[in-house]
Amino acid sequence: MKRLVNTIIIMFLLLHFGVSAQSDSRVISRQGQVSFFSYTSVENIEATNNLVSSIIETSSNKIVVDMLMRAFVFKKALMEEHFNESYVESDIYPKLTFVGEIIAFEAKTKGPQTKIIKGIMDFHGIKKEIEFKTKIENLNGNYVLEGDFEVSVSDFNIKIPSLLAPNIAKEIKVMFRFEYIPYE
């Protein structure tokens, strides 16, 4: 009887240990930067969001990203309003999330490495698998992750009126940079 109780207590403690071990292996970036660019002959559109948050779980190579559409800053104020109101509809779809994996990531290896990230981007009500190359650098337990990729506007059901079709690129270039610190 006593042995059983002890076993239970030990198991319980072990489970707790497991949970805390999980959070020890997490690194977080609270002010990651994501920019996007649309280049056409009519006009260039550029916006930056520097309040993007992301967590990497170094034990499982899992990466998640979360950003608010309203946090994107445009050079032209009116564009920002139209972006939110008429295109990405941020009142209905306030955020973009990404859940993926850094394939064959060696978290313990110091210095830069180039890896593929593969995962699901959830944006404007559409979930789509995307894959892109990224540079990751391990600076003594802090990580810097940067890279770029292209997304197609039509993949995410964003409607562009035909009158404005020449102003907005079909493929939007996305650039990102995250600096991770251990998560407490």
Partner: protein, 301 residues
């Protein structure tokens, strides 16, 4: 013994589920980590004019807005018309500059009545998305200057008598993504007595609303009720109904109205005809609003 087995199982399940949560809800964790930012409600109306009157909106800092307003109508005629398309056209040129995100100034001139007007607009309170501030308030001060006689209005002799002052407090709420309503108590002081008015001070209630019908279009309507006047010889309450269409930096406004003028005081007090389909009563309005970003923002590096 069974009791203990049950206990083990419970603890196991409890512990495992905790593990599962820890693994899968990284996204939830990020959401909890995100600082709560203050978001002001965007685009209660698409532009800073509903159709004939001010909306609660102002432009953002550094924007110069050009306003080309046109009205078309027929005058009552016996016999055949000889004019091309319509008998009368009125045009307004206006320019509005946003000194800050909250404060704008405007200058404009109308061709039909020759009224020159300037206005200052200040946002006192902005609606917030989190619901803490449920509505927005904007103050408008507008001064109009008569420069000639038109439809019953006689040009007074002295300069000061030609002035009219309009003060508006606009209260508006965006109820949901489609519906916004505004109410604008207005006080107008006219330095001259026109159209057999005995008083020089008028209290007006302005009502306006929009309903979004597409991502780039909204239906709008507005009405100004002047308290204590008999509609008729002393003018009619102005009404408008129309469509606003946003095309990038340009906004087009198409509407029907009975107002001939463009400035606040003349539109509200001295609209000489009612809104109806009788000859001369209905005016077609087409406004083109173009936005120029004189100062562009710096993107965070």
């Amino acid at each position: 013994m069974n009791k203990i087995k049950f206990l083990i199982l419970t603890i196991h399940i409890f512990g495992l589920s905790q593990l599962a949560v820890a693994q899968d809800d990284l996204l939830q964790l990020l959401e909890d980590e995100r600082p709560k930012s203050l978001l002001y409600t965007m685009a209660t109306f698409k532009t800073n004019r509903i159709a004939i009157g001010h909306s609660i909106e102002t432009r953002k800092k550094g924007i110069l807005q050009l306003h080309l307003g046109t009205r078309y109508w027929n005058i009552p005629l016996e016999g055949r018309r000889t004019s091309f398309l319509v008998d009368r056209v009125s045009v307004r040129f206006g320019a509005e500059y946003a000194f800050t995100d909250l404060f704008t100034g405007e200058l404009g001139i109308n061709s039909f009545d020759g009224v020159i007007n300037s206005s200052l607009k200040y946002r006192v309170l902005r609606q917030q998305d989190n619901g803490k501030v449920p509505l927005g308030i904007t103050l408008v001060q507008s001064t109009s200057l008569f420069t000639r006689n038109f439809s019953g209005v006689q040009l007074p002799g002295s300069f000061s008598e030609r002035l009219l002052f309009t003060q508006q407090a606009i209260f508006a709420r965006k109820f949901n993504r489609n519906l916004s309503l505004q109410i604008a108590p207005t006080y107008i002081h006219s330095n001259s007595q026109q159209l057999n008015f005995e008083e020089k001070d008028f209290f007006v209630l302005g009502l306006g609303g929009r309903y979004r019908i597409g991502n780039h279009t909204e239906l709008v309507s507005e009405y100004h009720f002047v308290a204590g006047r008999e509609e008729g010889v002393q003018g009619f309450n102005p009404y408008s109904f129309g469509l606003n269409w946003e095309i990038g930096d340009t906004t087009m406004q198409f509407f029907l109205t009975n107002a001939k003028s463009f400035d606040e005081a003349t539109t509200i007090l001295y609209t000489p005809n009612n809104f109806n389909f009788n000859d001369g009563g209905l005016h077609l309005g087409v406004n083109v609003i173009y936005v120029l970003h004189l100062k562009k923002r710096q993107l965070p590096k």
